[in-house]
């Protein structure tokens, strides 16, 4: 087959749960390629020599190579190929914004066709590895001990890589279950908990220990970790989980949640289940403010919790929404409405409960620091939205616990930890950091890339001490 013929091959759509079956609970919407589909989609890859897709991947997965292995039906090898640079293909295949990364660069896509479904193929081999997983063999112990703080994608990846090198790793996690945002934030209908748990279990099989209910800076101090507990190096993967609010009138009325609280109640604390005690408000007319994945996740959960209408209110327009395109499409299919170019200016309460939201229309102006057009309020365009439940999903900042966890660590003006970009070492020697805690893209895959890079630096650091 020549390239022209390959380009004519039909794109394999991801099989999805029918809309009518979605709202009953957090069942995963994307069902995954069948083997036939994976083989058919793999045929669409042109195997470009210069592989522009790889340049679009934050962790440089050798995409043509793993797709070639799929064509040869060597699925395990395909998985191991990905694992050379990305430990968790089943996770990344599900949550990476591929349309802004590898697939954006795909030559097939650039030629006006649907780009190769690299993410779907990654998920296919990731799931294959999970289905055929074996207990990994442990590396020869080096005798070095490393502490990892936080068990999100950055911390887990770093822990796994260090364990493979034979270092003894303990992860300290503040919550009662490890996984970071992948467990408390991202809903099961996008990323089933069992996938995350499988990956964590495989780290445990490698010898990684996990100490949950452990708030570093409170339950144990950094001095203890580096002193009597004997950890020679530390990786910080505390994320950026502290929610931002709008700072407008009425924001503390009952019925107004941060996305983190709403999603934590429903994901981590299983509020949707009758056999859990966790309370959650189930609004009838729900409004979710923001435009990212978090916004869309909260909105889709609200529908599943029985809302009659769910409206996403975003101050820019659809083109600027940072959310994954697929999620936005799913949200629309499920009946979520959008109010673009709209900014809340005040919440209206009745007896302490939110009943409405005053908004103003925006128009797009000159590009701002992010390169996107700045939304500017339009004069005299105020209007009111009736709502009995509001979820605010306008981003998060670094936890105020960071300076308590690591006294004296240098932070930039936004509160992020400053690191040496080559080594990811912080201002405190022997303490490294990655993921949302350091400045950059807030994605799972970037966190994983940082975790791997930091593991290499920590390995060098430890060897240097031998």
């Amino acid at each position: 087959m020549d390239n022209k013929e390959r380009m004519q091959l039909p794109y394999q759509e991801m099989p999805e749960l029918p809309v009518t079956q979605r709202l009953a609970g957090p069942v995963e919407v994307n069902r995954g390629y069948s083997e036939q589909q994976a083989l058919a989609e793999a045929e669409r890859c042109l195997q470009c020599k210069n592989a522009p897709c790889v340049a679009g991947c934050p962790v440089d997965i050798d995409i043509p190579a793993f797709i070639k292995l799929i064509r040869e039906k060597r699925y395990t090898q395909a998985g191991l190929k990905i694992k050379e640079t990305n430990s968790f293909p089943a996770i990344c295949g599900r949550v990476c914004p591929q349309e802004q990364q590898c697939q954006e660069k795909c030559v097939v896509g650039r030629a006006g066709h649907e780009p190769v479904g690299i993410g779907h193929l990654e998920r296919f081999v990731g799931d294959h590895l999970i289905a055929h997983s074996q207990k990994p063999s442990r590396a020869k112990p080096t005798g070095h001990k490393v502490a990892v703080v936080g068990s999100g994608p950055a911390g887990l990846t770093c822990a796994g890589e260090l364990a493979k090198l034979g270092h003894q790793v303990t992860i300290f996690e503040a919550l009662h279950e490890p996984g970071g945002v992948m467990i408390y934030g991202i809903p099961e209908f996008r990323l089933p908990n069992d996938i995350v748990r499988h990956e964590i279990k495989s780290l445990v099989d490698l010898g990684v220990q996990i100490s949950h209910d452990t708030v570093v800076g409170r339950t144990v101090t950094m001095d203890e970790i580096r002193g009597e507990m004997g950890f020679e190096a530390v990786f910080l993967g505390l994320g950026a989980g502290s929610p931002r609010f709008l700072n407008i009138d009425g924001e503390n009325l009952r019925g107004i949640y941060s996305a983190n609280e709403y999603l934590t109640r429903v994901n981590l604390l299983q509020a949707y289940r009758d056999d859990y005690d966790t309370p959650i408000r189930r609004g009838q007319y729900v409004t979710v403010i923001g435009g990212g994945n978090v916004t869309v996740d909260a909105a889709r959960w609200a529908l599943r919790l029985g809302a009659q209408t769910v409206t996403i209110v975003y101050r820019r327009s659809r083109q600027q929404m940072p959310a994954r395109i697929e999620e936005v499409r799913h949200a629309e299919e499920e009946g979520i409405q959008f109010q673009f170019l709209t900014q809340p200016i005040k919440f209206i309460g009745e007896d302490g409960d939110v009943v409405g939201m005053e908004c103003i229309r925006m128009e797009l102006g000159e590009p701002d620091a992010s390169g996107r057009p700045r939304p500017v309020p339009m004069a005299d365009s105020e209007f009111t939205i009736d709502t009995d439940l509001v979820v605010i999903a306008i981003g998060a900042r670094v936890s105020p616990l960071v300076p308590i966890a690591v006294p004296g660590i240098e932070l930039d003006e936004s509160g992020h930890v400053i690191v040496n970009p080559e080594t990811l070492e912080s201002s405190v020697p022997g303490i490294f950091a990655g993921g949302d805690l350091i400045p950059g893209e807030e994605t799972v895959v970037r966190g994983m890339g940082n975790g791997r890079q930091a593991a290499q630096s920590i390995h060098q650091y430890l060897i240097g001490r031998d």
Binding site: R138, A174, L175, H176, E177, P178, R197, I200, K201, V204, D205, G207, Q209, I210, H212, D213, T214, V215, R218, T219, V220, T221, G241, S242, P243, F245, N247, E251, N252, L253, R254, G255, Y257, S258, N260, E261, T264, R265, L269, Q270, D274, D275, Y276, D277, T278, P279, I280, R281, R282, G352, S399, P400, L401
Partner: protein, 289 residues
């Protein structure tokens, strides 16, 4: 997994649990709290640390079985294991160097002040404690407060014991008589804390209230605990729980505490609770693998 060492009923619906939690006992400072998730299906419930024994590695908490989740916790008996206890959370009390300080406690909030008073006493302060209860049967921690204060006044709303009336009355009298305090601390129901703030405000006496908003994680990650202090939103779990009582919007706090009163809780009617907790999937037994 956290073993319950003892569980004593102190009064109707009020229980004192002592729990093995060595890391919390070691690091706890007065003013800090912990969060307990008793079992898999339970909420994360914030509770003050009423006492601790770092040598024995235990913390003590006094729980009012107010609603479903606190009722779950108080059912745990010695030898049972609570699934999760995390802490110590929040900022420790900034004790400073007061010469004369007062602690005002109300109901099940009173025990939260015990370790604060102990610390103040160690710092050399002269101490007045006023603890108030609805009625005689609900009076708790009298003996313990007696031991750490120079003067103790117990009040009951119905006059069945001690001073007849509210905690604000003896405090107000003292202030009116020209007594002056370097610091007043208050822990208890929101209405009581608000009332104390009003009593001390005209005198400009530094007054700290330990707030009790709804919480989830206790690490600054959710904002459920947000309170307005001096016109600004603060997260009580990381910025507090103690704040300048003269700056706190108590009305908002009491409104926010009603978040789940309209029958929103779908509390699960629990059967006999599990006392032997299985290790979690990421926990390996010593001789595994």
């Amino acid at each position: 997994m956290f073993e319950v060492i003892s569980n004593q009923q102190l009064a109707t619906d009020i229980f004192e649990l002592t729990i093995k939690a060595p890391r919390i006992a070691q690091h706890h400072r007065p003013g800090q709290f912990c969060i307990i998730r008793a079992a898999q299906h339970c909420e994360r419930i914030p509770l003050s640390v009423a006492d601790k024994d770092s040598g024995a590695g235990t913390i003590t908490t006094v729980v009012q079985a107010a609603g479903h989740s606190t009722q779950e916790i108080v059912r745990f008996q010695p030898g049972d294991y609570l699934l999760d206890v995390v802490g110590p959370l929040g900022q420790p009390t900034h004790i400073g160097n007061p010469k004369y300080a007062a602690f005002i406690g109300g109901g099940f909030g009173a025990p939260a002040g015990y370790l604060m008073l102990k610390a103040l006493k160690d710092a050399g302060a002269e101490l007045l404690a006023i603890i108030g209860f609805r009625t005689r049967d609900l009076v708790i921690y009298e003996e313990k407060f007696h031991n750490v204060s120079d003067e103790l006044i117990v009040t009951t709303d119905d006059g069945s014991y001690g001073h007849h009336g509210l905690v604000t009355e003896p405090l107000g009298e003292r202030l009116a008589n020209g007594e002056s305090f370097d610091l007043i601390m208050v822990v208890g129901p929101v209405v009581m804390m608000a009332a104390v703030a009003e009593v001390t405000r005209p005198y400009g006496i530094k007054t700290l209230a330990s707030l009790n908003p709804i919480m989830v994680d206790g690490t600054g990650m959710c904002g459920a605990c947000r309170v307005t202090v001096g016109g600004q939103t603060k997260f009580a779990c990381v910025d507090g729980p103690e704040f300048d009582a003269h700056q706190v919007d108590f009305r908002e706090l009491s409104e926010r505490l009603k978040m789940y009163q309209a029958g929103e809780t779908q509390a699960y009617e629990a059967g006999p609770h599990q006392c032997k907790v299985e290790p979690r999937y990421w926990q390996v037994r010593e001789n595994d693998g």
